[in-house]
Every structure is written in structure tokens, then in C-alpha cells.
């Protein structure tokens, strides 16, 4: 649990972050979204004290972060930045081992952890750990950056525009991987982005920032159906908000009992994907299949349309 209490940052007469208070649940993904200059990166960087707050405080599991020396605090918090920031003179394995070494882990434990992370991030091959960052593709560099941040098993991971430098195809894969990793390790993630689609795709909660203030901090569906400010509506976009709303729910969640259909969709697919599939195929309904192949029920076009009409 992270509690941000009345956090402000002022540079001279300029207020970059203005009295922000919010709570972040453990094991959740919170996305802070806003235009450039909204103070979202500064807010993130005050959590690990790369920026010292002017007023206010941050509590992690009840402990005031200002009471720990900043560099010791940061060893317990993962940190990923845009353009990865890998150490160019160190190999992939050495990069990943950075924080465990700072923490003084035994050599064998460090090696085992590096190996585990290379496997989890699908970077394993006999030679991969010995490569240097400039020998990797953009997607690989980004994965190594995340692996390095998770190396010391932090309970909290901060990410500042982590996918900003990736092309759309690799970005989609990286986002999926992040969701997998988050489920696997149960890490609390706070991620900053200017991309609302990314916010909706990743966030359990989304905080919208403008001029240093948090305008709304809620679940993505609520941001769409009950925006607290016209700026929130503008940022989410109105042209495709029904489809955005559908994309937040999976087929498995909305499936209802009924006769078996010819057309089948996966339970993990979003309603948006199901609707698209039904439009494409011309079918009126589809059977929702669990990963094990059993039926989770069915979905009709009418039910999908009704769900998107909620707003």
C-alpha cells in the first residue's frame, strides 16, 4: 500500500506538482497519465526520491520514505525509464545484477536470479547474458531494463514512459509481457505515460494529471462513464469511447448461459475483439471457450451492444 499525502513540488514560483494525495493498492497497476508538463514524471520521481518533495510525504506500507537514506530506499524500488538507460559498458547479466550486487547478495544467489530473469523474459540463450546492450534490439533492451529493475525482487516498480521508444508492434508485446510479469510476481506497479490507450490497457486504476493536479483517480471504466472533468473526457477521446469501454471487459466476464454457437471466442479476449469478430464473420452470437476448451457460455451481439451503451 502506498499513500501519497499532500505531495507538492515547487521550483521557485513554479508549482510542478500541486498537493497530490492518492492511495495505491498493493499488487495493482496504477497508470498516471497526462500531457507533457503535467507533472506526472515529477510525481513518480518523488516516490523514490529522485526528486525531493517540497511538502507532503509518501508512505510505503506505512513507513515514511523520507526516513530512509534515498539511495537505500531506491534499492528496494524498481525503476524503469524511457530509453532503458542500460549501462553500455556492462553485459546484460551484469546490468541485471546491478541492484542485487549493491545489496551485497552472495555471488551464487545473484547468478541464479539473473538466470531466472533471463528465462522469465525469454532472453535465454547460452550467450545472451554476455552480450552488451548495443548488440540488442530495441525490444530486447527494454526487456533487459525491466529485468534489471525487478532483479532484487522489489515489491514496488516505478516505470517512466517505459515503452515510449518502441514501435507499435513491439510495444503491444511489451505491454502484454508486463501484465504477465505483474501477475507472476504480484509487483505493485506505478507507470507514467501520455498514451491513454496504454493507460486503459494496463491500468487497474488510472490517474489523470493536468498542471500538477490529479483530476481523477479511478478505474478506467469510471473514467469513461463518469469523467470528473472535461479534460478527462478529452484525453480519453469521445469518438471510440464505446469501443474503449468494451475493451476493458473480457468475454469470460460477460458470458451468459445459452445454446452452443458455431463461432467460438477465447474467454480472455476483450469484448471489443469479440464484437469485431462477430461483425467480421456475420454471426449473431459466439460461444466463449475457457483455456481448457470447455464452454464458459455465450455472447450475443445485442448483449455486447448493450454493454457498450452503459455510459
Amino acid at each position: 500500500m502506498i499513500n501519497i499525502e499532500g505531495l507538492s513540488k515547487r521550483y521557485g514560483s513554479t508549482t510542478v506538482v500541486d498537493a497530490v494525495s492518492m492511495s495505491i493498492a498493493s499488487g495493482s497497476i496504477t497508470v498516471i497519465v497526462g500531457t507533457s508538463g503535467s507533472g506526472k514524471s515529477t510525481l513518480l520521481r518523488m516516490i523514490n526520491r529522485l526528486v525531493e518533495p517540497t511538502t507532503g510525504r509518501v508512505l510505503i506500507d506505512g513507513a515514511d520514505t523520507s526516513l530512509t537514506p534515498a539511495h537505500l530506499l531506491r534499492r528496494r524500488i524498481g525503476y524503469v525509464i524511457q530509453g532503458h538507460g542500460l549501462f553500455p559498458h556492462r553485459t546484460v547479466a551484469e546490468n541485471i545484477a546491478t541492484v542485487p550486487r549493491l545489496l551485497g547478495w552472495e555471488r551464487s544467489r545473484v547468478a541464479a536470479r539473473v538466470e531466472e530473469l533471463l528465462r522469465v523474459f525469454q532472453l535465454e540463450s547460452a550467450s545472451f547474458g554476455r552480450k552488451f546492450p548495443h548488440q540488442l534490439s530495441g525490444g530486447e533492451q527494454q526487456r533487459v531494463g525491466v529485468a534489471r529493475a525487478l532483479a532484487a525482487e522489489p515489491a514496488l516498480l516505478l516505470m517512466d514512459e517505459p515503452f515510449g521508444a518502441l514501435d507499435p508492434v513491439i510495444r503491444g508485446k511489451a505491454q502484454d509481457d508486463l501484465l504477465d510479469i505483474q501477475r507472476r510476481f504480484g509487483t505493485t506497479i506505478v507507470l507514467v505515460t501520455h498514451d491513454m490507450d496504454e493507460a486503459f490497457r494496463l491500468g487497474d486504476c488510472v490517474a489523470v494529471m493536468k498542471q500538477g493536479r490529479v483530476l481523477q483517480h479511478d478505474r478506467p471504466g469510471v473514467l469513461l462513464t463518469r469523467p470528473a472533468d472535461p479534460f478527462v473526457t478529452r484525453l480519453s477521446g469521445t469518438a471510440d469511447r464505446a469501443l474503449k469501454l468494451l475493451s476493458l471487459t473480457t468475454a469470460g466476464e460477460l458470458a451468459e448461459p445459452g445454446p452452443t454457437e458455431k463461432r467460438t471466442v477465447a474467454a480472455a479476449a476483450s469484448l471489443r475483439e469479440v464484437l469485431s469478430d462477430l461483425i467480421w464473420s456475420g454471426a449473431d452470437a459466439a460461444t466463449v471457450l475457457n483455456p481448457d476448451g470447455s464452454s464458459a457460455g455465450r455472447l450475443t451481439v445485442a448483449r455486447l451492444l448493450a454493454h457498450g451503451r452503459q455510459g
Binding site: 523514490n48 525503476y79 525509464i81 532503458h84 549501462f87
Partner: protein, 245 residues
């Protein structure tokens, strides 16, 4: 290409060692340059020990320059020392602008004749390239890498030792190389104030109108400068293999 450079390198080393080991063997080569039966090979001292003394002076001065310049470069690129950045640059520039001969002239009355005034002159002369390259190297570290080092929880000292200095190392070594090569040549003037070195041979040649002495003093100095340059480039390349530019 690498083969040609290897042959040249080996040839230069063989030539240097052969000449210093048995200079008299080269007497017939230098004889045409002498007049009135003057000795073709320097005979007022052992060439090998002069060369070693010469190198010793250069390396001691370069070591001192490196220590001071790198230390100063680190200091003025920290936030605490940033205010001294332009001052240190000015000082190093003065050291470079002030001719070593003039430094010798000022230093001799203060510290007497011999090795010391030469060391002072070479030290001052060699500071600038190392300082400038250290500053450039440290300031040239990518901001994202510094940000990551801070974000990982490195202390300022850990960041300097584990990230900034290794990344700046190629440039720092380049500065040391420049400084060394300049000073191999400059050290010859030390002989005007009685420092042991190859300058002695050149000056003896000039005094006695013996072109052979001047030429062999100059050739030996040049060969050493080339070999030092070459060795430093090789060292830098080896480091560059792990530190991409």
C-alpha cells in the same frame, strides 16, 4: 593493413633496442654527417641510461598530471565543485600557454638545476589535455544512464566509480596519450637545466656543430614518442571493445 602496422611496430621496437643496446654498430651510418673526425655516436654518456632517464622524467610528470587533472576533472563535474569549472580550465590553459622554457627559467631560481624544474614544466604542460578530456568524458555520460544509476540506488561514489569513470575512460586515456607524446618531445629542453635526458645529445651536437649527435638524439626521441603513442592507442582500442562510443 594490420599486418603492415604490425611489421612497422616490430621494426620500430627492434631499431630502438638495437641502437640503444649497441650504438657503436651504427657508427658507419652516422659517420658521413661528422666533420674533422668528430665521433659519429654520442660518447659523453651512455645512450641507454639517458633514454631511460628521459622516459622516467616523462612518465613521472605524466603520472602527476594525470592524478591532478583527473582529480580536478572529477571535482568540477560534481555539483559541489561546479563553480570551479571555469577557474580550473583557465589554470590548465595557462599551464599550456606558458612555454615550458619559460617555466624552466622561473623554476630554476626556485628549486635549482636538475630534474625538478623539468618535472614542474612537463607537469604544467601536460595538465590541459587530460583535464579537458576528463571533463568532456564525464559530462558526456548519457543522462539516461546517470538517471538509471541513481534510480538503482547507487551512491554518488558508486556511480562515479562503476559508471561515470568507466564510460569516460577512453577519452581520459586519449588525454593521457596526448600529454605523454607532447612531453616526450618537450622533455629534451630539460637538458638545458642539467636534467638527464636525450636533450643532452641534441644540445651537445648543437654546441659542437655535430649533426650526427643532433640527428640521433632527435631520432631516438621521435621513435619513443611513436611507440608510446602506438601503445596507448592499442590500450584504448582494447578498452573500447567493451565500451561502445
Amino acid at each position: 593493413m594490420p599486418r603492415a602496422s604490425t611489421i612497422l611496430r616490430v621494426a620500430a621496437i627492434v631499431l630502438l633496442v638495437a641502437f640503444l643496446g649497441a650504438p657503436q654498430r651504427f657508427a658507419p651510418l652516422f659517420a658521413p654527417l661528422t666533420e674533422y673526425g668528430a665521433p659519429p655516436i654520442y660518447d659523453q654518456g651512455d645512450l641507454l641510461s639517458l633514454a631511460l632517464a628521459h622516459l622516467g622524467t616523462v612518465f613521472v610528470a605524466a603520472a602527476a598530471s594525470t592524478l591532478v587533472a583527473v582529480g580536478l576533472g572529477i571535482l568540477v563535474t560534481r555539483s559541489r565543485g561546479a563553480q570551479f569549472l571555469s577557474l580550473s580550465r583557465t589554470l590548465a590553459n595557462i599551464g599550456q600557454t606558458f612555454p615550458p622554457v619559460a617555466v624552466l627559467a622561473v623554476a630554476v631560481p626556485l628549486v635549482g638545476f636538475g630534474q625538478t624544474p623539468t618535472l614542474i614544466a612537463l607537469f604544467a604542460y601536460g595538465l590541459l589535455p587530460i583535464l579537458e578530456n576528463t571533463i568532456a568524458g564525464l559530462q558526456g555520460c548519457p543522462p539516461a544512464v546517470i538517471e538509471a544509476a541513481n534510480g538503482m540506488g547507487m551512491s554518488a561514489r558508486q556511480r562515479l566509480l562503476a559508471v561515470e569513470l568507466p564510460l569516460a575512460m577512453p577519452l581520459i586515456l586519449e588525454g593521457v596519450r596526448l600529454s605523454l607524446v607532447i612531453n616526450v618531445g618537450t622533455a629534451t629542453i630539460g637538458s638545458t637545466v642539467a636534467a638527464k635526458g636525450l636533450g643532452e645529445v641534441i644540445i651537445a651536437g648543437l654546441l659542437s656543430n655535430n649533426t650526427a649527435f643532433v640527428l640521433q638524439g632527435g631520432l631516438l626521441t621521435g621513435l619513443m614518442a611513436i611507440l608510446i603513442y602506438d601503445a596507448m592507442v592499442t590500450l584504448e582500442r582494447r578498452l573500447l571493445r567493451t565500451v561502445p562510443a
